[in-house]
Amino acid sequence: MTIRQRIILLTLLTFAAIAAIGGYAMLQAHHNAADVKRVTEGVVPSTLASADLVAGLKDVQLATMALVFAPDANTLAQAADKLAQQQNHLRQALTLQLQQASNATQKGLVQQAQQSVASYFGAIDDTVKFKQAGQQDIAEANLFASVAQYQGELEQVIETLRVEKNRSKDDAINALNHSLARTATTLSGVTTVAVLILGAIGVMLYRQIVRPIGQMQSMMSNVAASQDFTQRLPVARQDEIGRSMLAFNTMIEQIQASSSQLKQKTTDIQSMLQNMPQGILTVQAQKVVHPEYSAYLATILETEEIAGRDVMDLLFSNTQLGADTLAQIDAVWGACIDEDAMNFDFNQHLMVGEIEKTMRDGRVKILDLNWSPILDDDGNTCRVMLCVRDVTELRQLAAEASEQRQELEIIGEVLAVSQDKFHDFIIGALRFIEDNQALIRLHPKGDAEAIAQLFRNMHTIKGNARTYGLQHLTHIVHQAEHTYEALRQPRPDVPWDPRMLLDELAQVRAAVERYARINEVSLGRKGPGKGQGEQYLLVDRGQVHDALHRLETVNTNNLIELVAARDAVRKALRLLGTEPLSQTLDSVIESLPRLAAELGKLAPRVVLADHGYVVRHQASGLLKNVFMHLMRNALDHGIEDADTRMGHGKTMAGTLKLHVAAHDAQVYLTLNDDGRGLALHRIRDIARARQLLPADAHPTDEQIARLVFLPGFSTAAVVTEISGRGVGMDAVQEFVRRERGDIAIRFEDQRVGAAFRAFSTVVTLPEALFEHIDTPVIHGVSTSAAATV
């Protein structure tokens, strides 16, 4: 039942109760009125009338007396009339009494009175007859005898009737009083019941309407206060309150949804601000930095003090910007913030896009700035947002890429010139530069002839550079030539400044030397050509071209692309002028089967593990010489003949292993074999015999091993055709040391003091003679052709 229905019901019930009480009261009033009327108009007059009967009887008696004692006929006649009249009255009064008799007793009494009256009147008639007949005495006697007797009877009856009437009247009045009292009681009872029922309904309505509304209100207040939109009001009713609660629940559901959406967005933004690798800040009126900014900004600016700072102080202090530019930027904030959006456009050209900011420790960061207005609903710029990007690395990479590009271009230029011609060009250019240097120093005040000579020299370098298409060099040489040209004029607009001229010359020299270095190091074309034509280049021109193209097209604003391009080009550049170790040692390994055959041994297996290291061309000759000696030595002195090997349970053919590793800017080339090992006792004996070791000395194994590097040491019983010829280990050590390297013998077993010990020969060389590339070019096994024979 709805609340509306309940209220209507309560109102109707109230009306019904009031109507019932009213109706009942009216009915009772009506009854009581009738009762009163009956008492006042019936019972009381009737009682009074019964008293009148006594008077009527007296009247009749008096009239009878008057008649009996009438003196004359006239009086007699009058008395007779009077008597008849009085008799009639009495009769009528009795008739009326009969009509008014309220019960059988009264009725019986009245009828008794009527009979008594009839007797009484009969006696009177007799008396009257006697009177009229003149029989006065008889009449009088009759009067005192029978009339008086009947009169006495009648009086008694009437008295009884009167008493009865009085009693009846008292009864009626008592009944009326009772009835009135009952009515009052009933009415008050009904009213009380009605009040109680209505009160009960009221309480019920209160409980069902006011209380739930109160609860709803308190729950709503609770939700509003706690902002906990996960709460729901319990809906257990179908009425208006239930529907209100349902509507409220729907509303907080929507609020919850939108608030969680808002929360999510705020979280997203916060998380973006926390995690994006970009500095974002907004500036409000008075140039103050807003408290919300991206966390990365602190990393970029290297300070946690950001919120509330003056942006000029935070961002633009300690930058390359001059005072005037700073003043302009300083004015821009006021011109834009809290002003119409158009002001941002007006002043945008003053918002610098890149600053070089010096950090506390002196490092300089290049910061890219992106400015944008944040507009309010009125179209005014309420804040200015600045995106700050640290592009230091990007710019460095771009510079590096540009440098690489120049280098590749120079490589291209150098490759187009034959080695001989290029060599001659460099020698010539350096000579002219020396010449110019001497000329400048010789003439601190300038000299026309000297200037002419300077110009001719530089012009020659430029001419040659241009002829060979060395464009980068031509450009730099042209600058110097241009200066000399200016000095050559009759009234030069540049002064003769030896220091400046020497600086300029140093730049030309640096450029020439750069070309020379690229030629020698990157391309491995040191010196004039050796008549064997152009050296083989590991990286083909297509690859150089691809690398160059990559650098020309790279997006210099994209760090990832730049890094990828730089790495790819770096690899291409590194591979220039290098060769794999297998290629370097190719001729050495190829010579082993023939040597083995001469020694009556089987050709050995050679295993190379370069671990991604390739050899620069300038180290190629050294490695060939060193390993020619070491490998032949190993085959001659270490690896046994097939029979001996089989006797020791070894494979018939021996194995030589060479592996490359790097550590602390050194490259370690470790060679070992599976032969009999180092013949320590023989080395010691020979050393003693040759007085390289005192006879009483007790050297350790390591000390003995080192003896092999002494000049003129040879362990072979006979100087073999193989390793005894040419150079010894002392010479090998000399070669290696010349390149700032070293050579050592390292034992591989624990058999201290044994005649033969397993060992490795470790050649250490500077890392600069090698390049490491990401993936090993060669790793695996090179088996000599003869090994399978």
Binding site: Q328, A331, G334, C336, E339, M342, N343, F346, N347, Q348
Partner: protein
């Protein structure tokens, strides 16, 4: 009848700004200071935009702007200030005088021309 009044005590700025705006197809008249500016504005009811320097002899730009709104009862004309600095006090006065824009010198013609055209039409 001109659309734009350029007020600046520097003849270089006057010439440069007005030549640029003329080149962009706008009609321009010039004044040498605030007083002159008020006279020019009284004489020419066609002026829709005043581009004024702030610091000038006789009458500065802000005072002129206040008089345009006060004495001249001209609430319709747009006022844009050319400035080198911008203090809160200046901004407050400018706001009261209904100044629409602040252009920090040096003036960039390309950035303003489209907006100026909108303001004069």
């Amino acid at each position: 009848m001109a659309q734009i009044l350029v007020v600046d005590d520097s003849s270089t700025v006057r010439t440069e700004v007005s030549e640029f705006l003329k080149g962009a197809g706008l009609s321009v008249t010039v004044a040498v200071d605030g007083k002159d500016g008020l006279d020019k504005l009284r004489a020419d009811s066609g002026i829709k935009l005043v581009v004024s320097d702030v610091n000038m002899p006789n009458m500065d730009g802000l005072t002129m702007a206040e008089k345009i709104r006060g004495e001249l009862r001209n609430a319709a004309v747009n006022i844009v200030m050319l400035t080198t600095e911008n203090s809160p006090a200046m901004k407050e006065r400018g706001k009261a005088a209904g100044i629409k824009g602040w252009i920090v010198k040096p003036f960039n013609g390309d950035a303003v021309v489209a907006t100026f055209k909108k303001l004069v039409n």
